[in-house]
Each structure stands twice: as structure tokens, then as C-alpha cells.
Symmetry: C2
Subunit: 155 residues, 2 copies
């Protein structure tokens, strides 16, 4: 069974090559496809945050991981399954990131904190509701915090 | 341009018909497709929460909304764009929910708090890292809290 999707728009961003860290240095905007009316974004500015679902289209399908590997190939971190990490070389090549809404201008949604490069196809935009954030005690392994250390802001 | 995805597995859940509320009454599990090794989930149990991306395959494509509408067709709430709400009748019919990890058993990932019905195709599983949760001040409109009032637990 296959599922066929059509991008709803694309990312316009200041970063055009794939790099791991320092995403907060970049500016980014989602531009909805012209077949959508501006009403598709109506009311989104009442939310502080938005979840963007996008497609890592620049990832070579031959490099998709299906088992376990060291995140970023760093042997200091444990080998974990592809579904226990957020790396881009994953089945279906889907990315999902919560960003801050900056402004909306017609079909353009300006955001802060998007870790996607220029031209990335966008599959969905959802408002972030607090009721959909993690419920109950939260924990993550130490390697995750180490990997994320410079992800947003480089020292 | 189209994007072709293949489900990585499917939901096994106690709810098999679409209803709006009371999702915490249900039990649910993601069963990975047999082409994946169990290692694909290795280390996921070190995370308390997981983000599941799935496909609302039971939604009639003819009912997909592309403009604005009242959430749940409730005129007491403002008409907002389809990308300012999380309703299922949306372009690409993608769902995304953060669930609690209960246990992993081979290719089976048991979770709590999944709002997807039995048989739903799953597109991706990602660990939730605190660095990917909303950063900065958080806000949402009043209608969102009202809509979500009984979503997880009915009174």
C-alpha cells in the first residue's frame, strides 16, 4: 500500500545547504501553494507555535536507515533504532518541528526555529495546542541532550 | 510534484470507529511492518514520549477542507483556516500526536494517549526531545482549550 501526498507549499529559508547545528541563526518562511486561499491560515496568528511537517527531499533514498545506528555516527553515543532518533535518513523522510509564529502575510507564514533548508516541501501545518504537548513525567536519555546542545544556538 | 510514502506499520487500537472525545479510555499499539528489524525501536524506551505521525486514511478525500471553517462545525467557535486547526479533514490527511511510551515488545510499541483508530497506517515514529518542545512564551486561543476539554478524558 502506498500513500500519495502533494506538498501544500515550500520552505523559503536563508540556509540552503544541509548542516547539523545553529538553526536559530536562520530565517524561514512557509509559502503556501497558490491553489490555497489565504483563509487556510486564518486565525493561526492566535497561536504562539505551529508544528510544521515537511519532507527531507534532499536525502538520498539509498541512505535511509531501517535498523540501529549511532546518532550522527558518533560512537560516544549508543547505537539506537532509527525510530529512537530524529535523524533525517529515515523511512518516509518526514521531518516535524515546532516553530514560533512570527507573522502571516497572505500565503506566507514567517516562523522562527525551523530546521529545514530552502526549497523543502511542506506537507502540513498544525497549530500547537497545550493539550497535545507531553502529558505525565518527561524523560530522555543523556545522549539526546548532548546531541541537541548546539542545535539551535551555537556557543 | 507528488511524494510517495509507504506506511512503516499500523495502529492496533481498541477504538475502531471515529469519535471526537475520550481517547484516554482506549488502548493502542503501533505494530511495525515485518520488513523492519526489532532494532528499529532500540533505545526508544529511554524516552518517556514518542511522536507518532499517521495517515487519516478513513477520511473521504472529497471532504478535505482547504479554506476556513468552524472547528467541529461549532458556530460558537470562530471560523479558522484548516492549518489553524488540527481536524482530520485536512490536505494530505496527516495526523501527529505525542504519546506516552508504555513498553516495547519486538515490533510492537505500546503507547498511551493515541487518538487514532484501529488499522490506521503509521508513517513515522520519533522520540520526543525537550529541545523540540515549544520555546518562548506559549499561547493559544480560548476556543482551542474548549474544544480539547473532553478530548482525552470525558467528565
Amino acid at each position: 500500500m502506498t500513500i500519495i501526498l502533494e506538498p501544500i507549499g515550500k520552505v523559503e529559508a536563508s540556509r540552503s545547504e544541509i548542516r547539523d547545528d545553529g538553526w536559530d541563526e536562520e530565517s524561514a518562511c512557509v509559502v503556501l501553494d497558490a491553489r490555497y486561499p489565504a483563509q487556510a491560515l486564518q486565525g493561526l496568528d492566535a497561536f504562539s507555535h505551529v508544528e510544521l511537517i515537511f519532507h527531507f527531499d534532499r536525502v538520498d533514498p539509498g541512505k535511509i536507515e531501517t535498523g540501529a545506528r549511532h546518532p550522527r555516527n558518533n560512537p560516544a553515543w549508543p547505537a539506537v533504532g532509527i525510530f529512537a532518533q530524529r535523524g533525517k535518513n529515515r523511512p518516509n523522510r518526514i521531518g516535524s518541528t515546532i516553530c514560533r509564529v512570527l507573522s502571516i502575510d497572505g500565503l506566507r507564514l514567517h516562523v522562527a526555529g525551523l530546521d529545514a533548508i530552502d526549497g523543502t516541501p511542506v506537507l502540513d501545518i498544525k497549530p500547537v495546542m497545550q493539550e497535545f504537548l507531553p502529558r505525565g513525567a518527561f524523560r530522555q536519555p543523556e545522549w539526546a541532550g548532548e546531541l541537541m546542545r548546539d542545535y539551535w544556538q551555537r556557543p
